[in-house]
């Protein structure tokens, strides 16, 4: 996770200040002249953690996963997640195999099957920074490598992954520097 620190320092160095305009404060206009906010809106897509629907949900169930509320996802999808994880990665081939978090395939997919992003209100927010785990998601977090380590890395995935060629995509940062301040994301290409 050295790269994350490196990237973070790059981001700090690339601070850019943005100007704001405060000339059109929102005063709602009741009645016919205001925007119409009436009606019922029905769910089409949802996402908590990165790549969960993509990796762990079988093709025929992807739409259903997007329309299953998080509190019901684990009972509906954990078994599918576990089967797909074990089918994808030989790092869970033996009974008792765990990943770098010490989680078996059942435990790991039990965590992932409720697809919400946990966010700490008390300090560091990161998907994983070497110390903090699942306390948020920063723009700079190399979430795919973290997930590859947890899928293919085995017990010592952080230092000595079982399948090193599959445990890091070797893309460690974005193609444009992020901003230190709002809106944080880089300008469009």
């Amino acid at each position: 996770m050295k790269n994350i620190k490196y990237i973070m320092s790059l981001v700090v160095l690339s601070a850019i200040t943005l100007s704001c305009s405060n000339d059109d404060d929102f005063t709602p206009t009741p009645g016919a002249t205001g925007p119409d906010f009436s009606g019922v809106y029905t769910q089409q897509d949802q996402m908590g953690r990165p790549a969960v629907n993509t990796v762990f949900v079988s093709g025929a169930s992807k739409n259903m996963f997007n329309k299953t509320i998080p509190s019901q996802q684990s009972s509906a999808f954990q078994a599918m997640f576990q089967a797909n994880l074990e089918g994808l990665s030989p790092a869970y081939a033996n009974p008792g195999d765990t990943n770098a978090l010490g989680l078996t395939s059942a435990e790991f997919t039990g965590l992932l099957a409720t697809d919400v992003l946990n966010v700490s209100l008390d300090g560091t927010t990161t998907f994983f920074d070497g110390t903090n785990v699942l306390t948020g998601r920063n723009l700079t977090d190399d979430v795919i490598t973290v997930e590859l380590i947890l899928i293919f890395g085995g017990e010592a995935g952080l230092t000595n992954p079982e399948f090193p060629g599959l445990s890091n995509d070797n893309v460690d940062g974005n193609d444009k520097a992020f901003l230190t301040g709002f809106p944080y994301l880089a300008s469009a290409w």
Binding site: P28, F37, Q44, M47, T125, N170, F178, L185
Partner: protein, 216 residues
């Protein structure tokens, strides 16, 4: 590596979609490529550490040439969901919906109903921002302690998913080093809202997720 290929062969069926998508880009047939397709969700502590920042990205893989024509859909409600008591049911929501070139924000406030159907919390308006135009400086508004942005940005996601596709297809056995960011040079439609932490809790952990909902 023979066993590896067998395993990866099995994996093809599992992760076929992974070639086309990554974080949540075009993750499911019903939403792929549409105006309600979520590509990514981020939640992190702000530059002001008393604040949290929520980012929802939609409509991924926009080329620079197509970004100026991309637009938010007035029939698609973008909703940040916040569970404050660990039952994975939203206790608070922040809603964003476009009207006539502006993005309107509501909450954080308790939703009238939880789950798959939502109505807009029009009594809980918190701010509005002009939707930024491609190639222009970002329009940013600060109201009620919150800060708002809506418009095109660089896709912050990065991954060598082309190589991953080659691995799954059996054409390669491992990632390249260095890898190549498949999302380099592409844009998304982004909504960014920064809120005081005090509006969504006091301490501990909240659970969050993003949903898009279409007007019926």
């Amino acid at each position: 590596m023979k066993n590896m290929k067998i395993y990866l062969g099995i994996g093809v069926a599992v992760v076929a979609g992974f070639f086309l998508v990554a974080a949540d880009h075009i993750d499911a047939p019903a939403v792929a490529g549409g105006t309600s397709d979520i590509t990514d969700f981020y939640a992190f502590q702000g530059e002001n550490t008393d604040n949290l920042v929520f980012v929802a990205n939609l409509q991924g893989l926009l080329s620079p040439g197509s970004t100026a024509d991309a637009a938010f859909d007035e029939n698609v409600l973008i909703q940040f969901n916040i569970d404050t008591n660990q039952d994975n049911v939203e206790d608070l929501v922040i809603q964003a919906i476009p009207r006539d070139g502006k993005m309107y924000f509501f909450g954080p406030a308790a939703p009238t109903t939880t789950g798959l159907n939502s109505s807009i919390l029009s009594e809980d308006n918190s701010g509005v921002v002009t939707i930024s135009q491609y190639g222009q400086s970002p329009e940013i508004e600060e109201e009620n302690g919150m800060t708002f942005f809506a418009g095109p940005r660089d896709d912050p996601f990065f991954m060598d998913f082309a190589r991953y596709g080659d691995i799954i297809a059996g054409n390669e056995t491992e990632f390249a080093n260095p890898g190549s960011d498949t999302f380099a040079g592409t844009n998304v439609m982004s909504v960014v809202v920064e809120v005081p932490k005090s509006m969504v809790g006091s301490s501990g952990t909240i659970n969050t997720w993003i949903t898009t909902k279409r007007k019926q």
